[in-house]
Symmetry: C2
Subunit: 307 residues, 2 copies
């Protein structure tokens, strides 16, 4: 039996880290937040969460807030919700939090995050999770959870471990719908099917999700880009059903207008997650000789549009 | 010998029509402006022109300003500077201005304008001109001429006619550098080599001219798009030199930041000139079986980004 998870660190307390961490703390878990840019607001006023699953505030007394990882205790579980453009800071931000059995769960976007964590801290510690959700930071310490919320998670090494099941249970008990994946790669690529067009094309063309699929031309462009991702996934043995394309577009249509994190990053001229979401899948497509003309053009456009 | 050109109508008095018409009036020509959206400002205060060739104001007493073509006299020369998205209004806006010998010179962007004018009013009347210039409307009746200014013009039917030479002479005497082309198509396609990347990609990615060529990735993307236009032109017998690509990029670099009309149209959610600048060249490329993947993607992106 796996050790009980009681103490949790959240590294990277933007919209995703803030929301999920606050939900866990709201339900009685011992959550330690590493908060960098919004430290003053969160340490003084806590989190203010607007959520379709119920609004709530988390006061500073219900959690622990830190400015640097060095001040933090070792924990049972580290949840990584950093922007992938900060992955070069993994050693300093995660290293101090690790005890012998500490698990690391990355909820980050795109490809390569589990591999980087495994290389630094050992593959046995690492789990990956996909957050299928619409969450925006609307101010310091203020988060708007607009739609969905499901997390699918799995072991980097594969299999349904007791540890993965325990983490999923913690989430489900904290109003976060969570499923365990036998093969994490299915979740990764399923999420990429959405992220590549809606984050990537949305940022390149500066269009919110609803505008991208407002006419037939846009729906066709999004669908073809999704098909390129499905073909790339298939080339490495991850077979996702073609029906996923229509399903993802329908789900997105039901969301209403949504600006993805990459579109917002572009509008504020902050670094975009081009590497994890676009370049890594493209590198696999090239290596596997899968023809992905739209992904190629999208990558080139984003490099030009980058700050 | 051709009849003397004394009376000139400018149809479509935005930045291009306003600037060139005001220069002609400033130098003593009898210019009649059809001004729709800015009628009140121009009829009351005239034109205020900031120009690298010298600032000047043109008072209402130095010209004629009309709200509709029906109020205007027949003229010797009609200069068409409408946005191409208004080309369906040619009969009502140009018809009333024509006497037996009236010439029509279109300074509009893209392909197909001369053909539409020729079909309506007879090919013998029609000339085309390319304005290689940076001009923005900065307010009602206010124009900023930022860089360049050359006009290349030619007969729709080809050849260096006395009429084309006379119009060029009028322009050159009015501080507008002007050259006559033996084959108008060379000018049209030369201008497209610039317009497709800088108007098209600039509008799709919402980037000004300087940002499009700020890094190697952007310069490569712009260059390849230009190469696709050169290949398309070549397929119909218009051979432009490959060196044009580096030359156009160098000229653009010297201009500094510039928002093209298509980028501005997109930002204000006005109709973009997708048809004339992007769709028409793409239709020719498809018909001639020229491979233009970037132009294809650009066209599709613009349709999605259109208002």
């Amino acid at each position: 039996m796996s050790p009980r998870i009681e103490k949790i660190a959240v590294v990277g307390s933007g919209a995703v880290g803030g929301y999920y961490g606050a939900r866990l703390a709201q339900h009685g878990l011992d959550v330690h937040f590493l908060v960098r840019s919004d430290f003053d607001a969160v340490s003084q006023n806590g989190w203010k969460i607007q959520s379709l699953d119920g609004d709530f505030n988390l006061s500073p007394g219900q959690m622990h807030v830190y400015r640097t990882a060095d001040e933090m205790p070792a924990v049972d579980l580290v949840i990584v919700a950093l922007k992938t453009t900060s992955n070069d800071q993994f050693p300093a931000l995660i290293g101090p939090l690790l005890a012998e059995k500490t698990a690391i769960l990355t909820l980050q976007n795109g490809l390569g995050n589990e591999e980087q964590l495994a290389a630094l801290f050992g593959p046995g510690r690492v789990l990956g999770g996909l957050a299928f959700t619409c969450i925006n930071r609307i101010g310091p310490g203020q988060i708007h959870h607009m739609d969905h919320g499901l997390i699918r998670l799995g072991e980097f090494n594969g299999g349904r471990s007791p540890r993965a099941l325990e983490i999923a249970d913690l989430f489900n008990r904290s109003q976060i719908h969570c499923q365990v994946l036998e093969d994490l790669r299915y979740g990764r690529w399923e999420k990429l099917v959405w992220n590549v067009p809606f984050n990537g094309l949305g940022a390149a063309l500066d269009l919110s999700t609803d505008r991208l699929i407002a006419n037939d031309a846009g729906t066709a462009l999004v669908s073809e880009l999704m098909a390129e991702i499905l073909a790339t996934a298939k080339s490495i043995g991850v077979e996702l059903p073609l029906e996923l394309i229509a399903l993802k577009i329908e789900q997105t249509r039901s969301m209403g207008p949504y600006k993805t994190s990459m579109q917002i990053d572009r509008q504020y001229r902050r670094a975009m997650e081009i590497e994890a979401i676009i370049a890594k899948p493209l590198a696999i497509a090239r290596k596997q000789a899968v023809t992905t003309p739209l992904l190629e053009f999208l990558y080139r456009s984003l490099i030009v549009a980058d700050k």
